[in-house]
Each structure stands twice: as structure tokens, then as C-alpha cells.
């Protein structure tokens, strides 16, 4: 019993689950309608569904970011890749036409394939800089973070391109079995990544590179290849998130699409219990982390507070979660508790 308890409290995602629980409980007390789910026209509606739906892009980014952070790196470029993917997809759909069209210039499958291909390439580029030229991850990805939005603007001609092509809107706005289509995308991405992490040696290799790159290389792990693949996956995830975001707003906004998403994604991973120093990781934790961030935002909206003030609460929650995870803080609290007992 005690062992089980320890197992649960010791798990990496524990503080994230507690934070999520606390936010939901807070809502239950102050706003009972929060948990109501109604069915309208065969779709499920309610705050909970809303939270799930809105957290999709960050969840997908956080899944890719988990591997990156597990190798001891960070990927600052994902927000820019989201914008780039949206720009590529919408401009491919529009083709050469200057007017708003309801047909696509290219089959949707091809559009998705090319977009994801370009996003993956962007990630691989980061990986190559980091693995072979040995540039620090923060700097290498900073380059693409700055330049990526510029490239996206180059593609859109610095305009906000829009489209009316209906099938494209299904990705981010469609419904299936009463639930948003984008939720199914998250489930598919998460299952594939978990399969890769748990059922193959890849997950272990990632952890090993994160704990010590040189030791991994000496023991025969192709650390450089692992790094390139990891950043490639992060780019691919950013591409998928970019499609969801682009489809949701049905336009390519190179300036604002995915703005600051990299920060939320990194935050989600850290709240989910993966240490920024690398090593062990938890993909489920990162997804819960993304839910924590989104449920916080949604519940603050429910109280008629200006949305921007959310940032203050977000800051406090971040500080609380990282302090709970901090070793010196835990030890300090333990010492204080012991002192209290002696008195």
C-alpha cells in the first residue's frame, strides 16, 4: 500500500496531475457549470471539451519537445515552424489564384505531405547544426526561430492568406463521433510516439544521450543520428500542430500563428516532470502539462478577467510547480518539517 503510494507520488507527472486536479477542483467549487457537457447537433459541448480541443497544438508540440528536452536540449523554433507550416499549406491550396477559392490547387493529401515534409526538414536542419557542428540547442534553434517567420512571410508575400477550401477545415474544426477531429490527431500522434518510445530502443537511446552524450557515443549509440531524428520529430510535430492551427483559422498568418508556442510547449514538458537537464522523460506527463496550461487559461476566462492577466496566474503556477520539483526546495521543506517535530 505504502509502496504503491510512493510509486504514485514519486512519478514524474505527479505534480502535474496534482496541479490539474487542483485547477479542476477550484472550478467545480466556484462554477458548477464547468463540468457540464451537452450534446448539440450530435457534437459534445462543454468547458472540458473546449479545454481538450484548445490544448491540441500545445499537446502535439509538447510530445515532440519531450524527446528534445530528454536529450538535454530545447527547441525554440517550433512556434516559427507552426507559422511556416501554415504558410506552406495555405499557399499550396491557393496555388496561383488571387481570389478566394473553394477548391484546392492540389490534392489535400499532397498538401499535407509537402507541409509535413518541409516542417520535418526544418527540424532536421536544427538537428544537423546541433549534432554535427555542435552548436548549443538554444542557439541553433534560435536561428530558425528568428529566420523561420521571415521565410514564412516570404512565402505568403507578407500578407495574411486565407482559404475557403472546406476539406482543409476538417483538420482543425471538424467533428468525428461527437468529438473534435483534432483530438483524434493527438491520440494518433501520442500512440505512435509512445510506441516508438516504449516498444523500441529509441526511448532508451534518447535518455542515454540526454544523460551523457559522450558515454552514449562510446557505448556504440549513434548519438548524432539520434539527435537529428529527435529534432526531426519535433519539427514534424510542429508541422502537424501548424496544420491544426492553420485549419482552425483557415488562413496563414506568418506573424502571429504559433507565437510563443515554443514557450508553452517547453513549459508543458517541464510541468510534466521531464527535467531540462535531460535524461528520463514522460510523454504522458507533457500532455498533462499542456492540459494544465490550457485549463488554467480557460478557467480564468470563465471569471471575466481580461485574458492577458492570465499571464500573472500562469507565472505563479509555473513557480509553484518548478519549486515542488526542485530538490533543494524539497530538502528545505523536509528540514523545516523535522525541526517542527523536534519542538
Amino acid at each position: 500500500m505504502l509502496d504503491n503510494f510512493r510509486k504514485i507520488t514519486g512519478s514524474k507527472a505527479f505534480s502535474a496531475v496534482i496541479a490539474l486536479g487542483a485547477i479542476l477542483l477550484f472550478n467545480l467549487v466556484l462554477n458548477p457549470d464547468f463540468f457540464q457537457i451537452t450534446i448539440k447537433e450530435g457534437h459534445l459541448y462543454g468547458s472540458l471539451i473546449d479545454i481538450l480541443n484548445r490544448s491540441v497544438p500545445i499537446m502535439i508540440l509538447a510530445i515532440g519537445m519531450t524527446f528534445v528536452i530528454a536529450t538535454g536540449g530545447t527547441d525554440l523554433s517550433v512556434g516559427a515552424i507552426v507559422a511556416l507550416a501554415g504558410a506552406v499549406a495555405v499557399s499550396l491550396i491557393r496555388g496561383d489564384t488571387e481570389v478566394l477559392n473553394e477548391v484546392s490547387a492540389m490534392p489535400l493529401a499532397l498538401v499535407i505531405l509537402i507541409t509535413l515534409g518541409i516542417a520535418t526538414l526544418a527540424g532536421v536542419w536544427n538537428g544537423l547544426l546541433i549534432a554535427f557542428i555542435e552548436i548549443q540547442p538554444i542557439v541553433a534553434t534560435l536561428v530558425f526561430m528568428v529566420a523561420g517567420r521571415g521565410i514564412a512571410q516570404l512565402i505568403t508575400g507578407a500578407r495574411t492568406l486565407t482559404t475557403n477550401f472546406h476539406p482543409f477545415s476538417i483538420i482543425g474544426q471538424g467533428w468525428f463521433l461527437g468529438l473534435p477531429v483534432s483530438l483524434f490527431i493527438v491520440v494518433i500522434v501520442a500512440s505512435l510516439v509512445l510506441l516508438l518510445a516504449k516498444k523500441s530502443a529509441f526511448g532508451m537511446f534518447v535518455e542515454s544521450v540526454g544523460i551523457s552524450r559522450s558515454a552514449s557515443a562510446y557505448s556504440g549509440i549513434r548519438a548524432k543520428l539520434i539527435l537529428v531524428v529527435v529534432y526531426g520529430i519535433s519539427g514534424l510535430c510542429a508541422g502537424i500542430a501548424g496544420l491544426v492551427v492553420g485549419s482552425n483559422i483557415m488562413c496563414a498568418d506568418a506573424n502571429n500563428a504559433g507565437l510563443n508556442y515554443e514557450l508553452d510547449a517547453i513549459l508543458a514538458v517541464v510541468i510534466g516532470g521531464t527535467a531540462m537537464t535531460g535524461g528520463k522523460f514522460s510523454i504522458q506527463g507533457s500532455m498533462i502539462g499542456a492540459l494544465v496550461i490550457q485549463s488554467l487559461t480557460t478557467s480564468i476566462y470563465a471569471f471575466d478577467v481580461p485574458p492577458e492577466v492570465t499571464l500573472v496566474v500562469k507565472a505563479l503556477v509555473v513557480v509553484m510547480v518548478v519549486l515542488i520539483q526542485s530538490k533543494p526546495f524539497k530538502e528545505g521543506v523536509k528540514k523545516m518539517a523535522l525541526r517542527g517535530r523536534q519542538i
Binding site: E134, A140, L142, V146, E308, K314, V322
Partner: protein
Amino acid sequence: MIKIQKLFNIKYVTITATILLFFIFYATGSMQYRGFFTLRTFVSLFSDNAYLGVSAVGMTLVLISGGIDLSVGAVAALTTMIIAYGTEVMGLPAPITFAIALIIGTSLGLLMGTMIHRFEVPPFIATLAGMFLARGLCFVISIQSIAINNEWFRSIAKWKIKFQGGKSYITVGVIILIIIVVFGIWLMKYTKFGRTVYAIGGDEVSAKLMGLEVGKVKVAIYGINGFCSALAGIVFALYMSSGYPRHLIGMELDTIAAVVIGGTLLTGGSGYVIGTVFGVLIQGLIQTFINFNGTLSSWWTKIFIGVLLLLFIGLQRVVVILSHKRQTSNL
């Protein structure tokens, strides 16, 4: 002769490259556009980018120590809000709002430094929280832009040293920048504090074992950077004469880019404040180029800065590899 040798010393390669690049850029611009090679354009490089320079000096310290600070733009924006709200809504004298802003900026920095040092929170996350907090507080103060009409403030903002018959001038912002740069150079070059910062960036554990006051210095670095961010906010408020919660979004990236282009290694342990000044000027030059050209769109700034970053990081790698080889061949 010795001086030339010193210039090509491996230690100074990146900073030499930065300064050379600045002059090449400047020469190209001067040859291409009329009015580029004038004192006015040169001086306006400083007055238009003074806020960036002030913040970049603080960031140089942070990056040399091997850390990072994402909160600078938000703290500077908060400063503009404090000044605007303090003078316009609360009717406080402007100097008092300046003092309040500087105290709040420094305290935020010290808090983040404490989180980083005492509780071993990664600098990225601690300062991200600081950024959220400061940006959020901006919106708590007001959602709208507030114009600053305070008389004393206006007179400071308008005050300038004119020369060339008023065609070129130096603003208060530029004077603040010069003071901060001189202070930064002195701090990093001639004090124990500065040497400790380099030591922490080189190897924190060794620095601790050498008996240096790693903890105090680390917290102080973030405190100083918080002060610089608030000061940058004051300079920016003087430049814009308004407080706005959406001011300076993304400034932290420009600042970090300027410091990296200025030759500071992001791994820590190496870099110069004077390099940072040239990094800021190069960013200003790119902007001036685009203004003079008129047909280039602003997104080219982003692509240019990305390419420049890449160039400098590549150069830094070469330097690190070469100095590594030299060390091992000396053995």
C-alpha cells in the same frame, strides 16, 4: 606590431570579426545610398537603438555566466507602464516613477536569480516565469496605451545636445547608454565581480572550489540585468513617450541576438561588453539599410539576422575548435 598580433589572437577573433563586419556593412551602405555616410545617420544608429543597447549590456553579463534571461522585454514594457500610470493616472512626480520602476525591475531580477541559484530552477524556466509575471502585470495596470504628458518627463525626452546646426543630436537615452556601457566594461574588466562572472561561465563547479562567491554573484547578475531591463524601459519610454502593455514583445530575442553577434559565447565564459555594442549597432545598420532601400520588406530583417547569427555561431565554433587544438598541442 604587438597590437596587430593581439588583434588576431584567437581570443579576439569573434570580436574582431564583429567590428570588421560593422565597418564593411557601413561602407557598403555609404557607397550605395546617398545620405548614409552622414553624422546624422551614424548618431541616429545610437539614439534609435539606445534601449536595446542598455538591455544588451545586462544580457552580456547573463550570457557570459552561462545563463539566459527571457524576461527583459516584459520588464522593460512593465517599466513604461509604471511610468505612464504613475505620472498620468496617479499624478506622481516622474523621477519617483523612475525610481519605482528601477526598484521593481531589480527586485524581479534578484527574485529570478534566487530561484535559479537557491532552488536550482533552470534559468530558462525561471526567467520565463518572470516574463509571464511582468507581462501580465502590464495588463493588470492597464490594457490600453497611455500617453505620457508629464512636463518634467517631456522636457527630459526633448532634451538633446545639438550639433551641426541641429541636424544631428544626442538624446538622454544615448547618454544613459554610454554610462551603462562604460560601467559594464569597468565591471567586467577591472573588478573581482567581473572575473567571477567569467569563472562561473567557464566552469561553475571549479569557480565554487576556488572559493569564489558563486551564489551571491549569480543572484547579483540577474539583479543587474533586471536593473538594466528597467533602465532600457525608461529609455524606451523617453523614446516613445507612452506606456503600452504590448511594447517590446520579443525584445529579449533581439537582445540575445545582439549579444551573440557581438561575439559572446552562449556556452558562457567568454565575451566582451564592447562586442555587444557593435552587435546592437549591426542590428541597427540592417534596419537602416532596409529603411534606405525602401523596397525591401521588413521580413528581410529577420532572415538577415538569422543568417548573421548562423555565421557568427559557425565562426565561434571554429574558434573553439582551434583553441582546443592549440591547448592540446601545447601539452
